[in-house]
Every structure is written in C-alpha cells, then in structure tokens.
C-alpha cells in the first residue's frame, strides 16, 4: 500500500495510525523560521470515531489506509448482518455487522442506496443519504385545520425511527427527513 508524507497530508486523506484506519481532519504546519518543522494533525479514528491530536516531524509518513466509499443498495437483514449490494452492476454483495451499521439502522429501507465504507474489503461504516423518504406507521390522529402553526408530535416511521412532526401528519404519509439532524422536512406527494 502507498504511504503519504506530511507534505501530502490534507483533510479527507485516509491513513493508518496505530493500526487503525483514520481520516485526516486538519493538518497544521508548526515551524520556527530556520528550525525543524512539525505537523500538528487532527485525525478521526474510523473504528472508534474518536478524534486524535498527533504531532509529526515534517517528512514522516503514514501508510495509506485501504478505505473506500461505495454506493450500495440495502437488501435485507438476517438479524445478525445487514446485506448490501454494489450499484455498479456487479451485483457484488457485502454483509455489514451491527457495529458498521450503527445508528444508520434507523434509516435503513430496502432498495434505498447508502454509502458503505469498506476497510480492507469489509464494511466499516454505513452512512445514509442526507435525506430519506419514509412512511409514517404510527402517530396520533391528525388534527384538521391545523396546517400551519405550532405544535408537534412524535411519529414512528417504517424503519423504526421516531421523528417530531407537525400535528397534521397522518399514518400512511411519506415524509422527507434530514438524517443528519433527524428532523422532519416536508411531506412527499406519492
């Protein structure tokens, strides 16, 4: 595998540090005029999501991590693994465990496309699209005439996610939800 020297460090670069795949968040050069240069680097450990602050001597290098993002369609779960398929026509399938799926589990809808990050060929994380469209399966009855202002109630979506929605939303409606904040955006005409 290739390696990157401190001169090549930049946000988004995926490297191996202490055996774990990490993504570089920030790289700052610290250098007295004529002295030895150092790089102060912020990295997010992709296994634990922890952010590390590390110092490197300029010229040091880190091995590149074999980490790649792929678009994959969610197929089904067998209870232990969640199965995804590449959308590039290869029909290649990957099984993600609960750790890889993480919080994304509440946004998983069959046939929707997710970003699956592979590390050494195995799913490391599953990231939902920024917006998903899901059907309401449970919520208190809607209140007629209350279309604009005030008030909210919880609604359970087909994937199990619970979001806060306006009072006029009824069971069976399809909602657009922002997966980053978990916020209701609008109703989708079906």
């Amino acid at each position: 595998m290739a390696s990157y020297s401190t001169n090549e460090f930049r946000g988004g670069l995926k490297v191996l540090l202490d055996g774990d795949p990490c993504i570089i968040v920030e790289n700052e050069i610290v250098k007295p005029g004529k002295g030895q240069a150092f790089n102060r680097v912020k990295l997010r450990n992709l296994m634990t999501n922890r952010v590390w602050d590390r110092t490197f001597k300029s010229g040091e290098s880190l091995e590149a991590a074999d980490v790649m993002d792929h678009d994959m369609e969610y197929l089904y779960t067998d209870g232990e693994f969640w199965h995804f398929m590449l959308t590039d026509g290869s029909f290649e399938q990957y099984a993600a465990d609960a750790k890889a799926v993480g919080d994304t589990i509440k946004w998983l809808k069959e046939q929707d496309v997710y970003t699956v990050t592979l590390y050494n060929g195995a799913p490391l994380t599953v990231t939902p699209p920024n917006f998903v469209e899901l059907e309401v399966v449970e919520t208190d009855p809607g209140m007629k005439g209350d279309t604009a202002q005030g008030g909210s109630k919880p609604a359970t979506l087909s994937t199990g996610a619970v979001v806060s929605v306006p009072l006029f939303i009824t069971i069976g409606e399809v909602l657009k939800v922002d997966t980053r904040s978990g916020e209701y955006m609008n109703r989708v005409k079906s």
């Binding site: 001169n7 050069i29 610290v30 005029g33 004529k34 002295g35 110092t55 490197f56 001597k57």
Partner: protein
C-alpha cells in the same frame, strides 16, 4: 452544473488597503533613515544549504543557463551588494519556501529584509522595535534570552539538560520512536514551537535572543555565562514569530564550514545536498562589512495589524487560489 473555481480574493479590500499602507510606511521609515531600497533576484542560480529550508526549483533554460531556484530569502544577494559597498540596504521581496502551507504559512510570501552596516544585533533590535511598534502602535518589546524563555515555559535548561530529560519532556508531543532520530536542536525546536511560542508576546511583544550556538545559522557567536550563544534574535507578538535577525558572520572560512555542516545534516536527514553558492562566498572572501541584518515576515505583520490568525485573510490569493 460545472464546479466554479474559487476566483475571488481571500483578503478584503480593507486588508489590501492596509497592505499598501504598510508598504508605504516601511518605505517612509527607511527613507527617513537613509537606508537604500534595492531589488535582487527572486530567481537565483543557487538555493540554500539550510537544513530546514527548501527552495523551489525552477526549470529555467536560457541560452546555456539551466535550472534555478526561487529564493528562500534575498540574503546572499543582499550580502553581495554589501560586500560591493552598498552600505545599509533594505528590500521588500517575494520569497519561497517549499512545503510550508498553513494558517501562518504560504509557500510564497512577502519578506522585508534589511542590513545595517556597523550595527550590532542590539542596535538592530532597537530599530526593529521602532519599525514594528511604530506601525502596530504596540508597546516596545521586552527582551528575554532563549535560555530564560525555555526555563520559564518549557521547564528545561537548554544548555545543560541531558538528552534523556530532553526526550522525556518531548514525550508530551512525540512517541519514543519519533524521538530516536530527532536531533537535540530538533527537540529544542519542538519545545520552542509547542511549549514556549504560544506564550510569547501575549502581553507585550517579546524579543528572544542569545540562541544556542548550534542554532546560530549565519550569526556571530560569543560566550555568555560560560555558554556559547549566537548573536541572533527573533521577535514574537501574540505567539506569532515575526522576524529573525543576526549580527552577521563575516568570516569566510567559518561560513564555508557551516554550509558544509548544513549539507552533511541534509544528507543525514535524507534531503538532497545543495550546491554551495560560490559567488556568495567570494563576496564574503572579498569582505562583508561589519553589519547586522534581519528578515521580517510582512504578511504576518499585516495579520497582526488587521487582527487575524489566518494568513489567507491578508493575501489576495493564497496558494490554493493562486
């Protein structure tokens, strides 16, 4: 839709205006003191041997002259002018340092460099203070020796600390295996950058002087309290390193020996050996007048003037948009 490149400047019009005013202030300052403004090559035939500075190689090809270097500082050319009898000179020029890019670095930046004949480092520090404090309207700097600063903020005495204790102190930032091939000066640079520098000049500006002889570069050396120290100074304001000055070395043999030592260090660090600038050495051989010189980062001075921590705010187009 096609992705539009970032074509707009990163500096505001006010910052651009402040830069123009800064240049005018500097020129006025030196005109009043009868220091001559000069221009020397930005594209030179030689680079520098400095172990921690890398110029940018240019694919020059002009009637038999092939290859050149974008200069890391106008120092050698200016010293050739001094040797030729220019008397005190200054220059505002673009200089280049490969690999240096961040919130305080751009690989191409503006430097103010000046030389004062028959000045000592002490006299030049006064003049630096006049210029900087005159422009920034800040209190005059206090002077703290390198040794005192290290003892105060890093908790080690740089002249006597054992390698073991020095490494122990550096463990706050580096792993043992990273320290294995880091020189003593490299360790001191680490402590200077991470433990000392952030505290420097936060109240009033601070001059650091009396650097260890091993960090003398082109400065004279003398003995203080039994330790060899360099007649070298740096000015810090708000934790930002602003300038680097020397009471200049005038001895040609010593100069050549330091270049050769630099190259040995470069080779040891896996860097290419640099051709020694013989024209420069010939000028020193001819005779450099007794002088002190200083290089000051104008972009950083402007950062302090407009109150920003990011160099992009004072550059029309930093490298990513250049």
């Amino acid at each position: 839709m096609r992705n539009q490149p970032d074509w707009q400047p990163t500096a505001t019009r006010a910052a651009l205006k402040s830069r123009a005013q800064q240049s005018a202030f500097v020129r006025g300052f030196f005109a009043q003191r009868d220091v001559l403004e000069v221009e020397t090559p930005i594209l030179g035939r030689c680079g520098v041997t400095e172990p921690n500075l890398d110029g940018i190689f240019a694919q020059l090809d002009a009637q038999g002259i092939k290859g050149g270097w974008l200069q890391t500082s106008p120092e050698y050319h200016m010293k050739r002018l001094l040797a030729a009898g220019s008397d005190s000179i200054y220059q505002i020029s673009k200089v280049f340092r490969n690999g240096e890019r961040g919130s305080r670095h751009n690989p191409e930046f503006s430097m103010l460099e000046w030389y004062r004949t028959s000045f000592s480092d002490k006299a030049l520090m006064e003049e630096v203070a006049d210029l900087v404090c005159g422009w920034l309207q800040c209190p005059r700097p206090q002077v703290i020796s390198y040794r005192e600063a290290m003892i105060t903020w890093a908790g080690i005495d740089p002249f006597v600390v054992s390698t073991k204790d020095l490494h122990q102190r550096c463990r706050e930032w580096l792993e043992p295996e990273q320290l294995e091939d880091l020189s003593r000066d490299g360790c001191l640079d680490l402590l200077m950058s991470f433990a000392v520098e952030p505290s420097l000049g936060t109240e009033t500006p601070v001059f650091i002087n009396q650097y260890p002889a091993s960090q003398a570069s082109l400065a004279r050396i003398s003995s203080v309290d039994g330790f060899d120290v360099a007649h070298r100074f740096e000015l810090y304001i708000d934790g930002i390193e602003l300038c680097n000055g020397y009471w200049e070395l005038t001895h040609p043999d010593e100069q050549r020996a330091r270049f050769e030592a630099d190259n040995r260090l470069r080779i040891a660090n896996g860097k290419p050996e640099m051709e020694i600038d013989e024209a420069f050495l010939a000028a020193i051989e001819h005779g450099l007048p007794d002088c002190a010189g200083v290089a000051l980062g104008l972009d950083r001075l402007l950062m302090l003037k407009v109150g920003t921590r990011n160099i992009a705010d004072v550059l029309a187009f930093p490298l990513e948009r250049a």
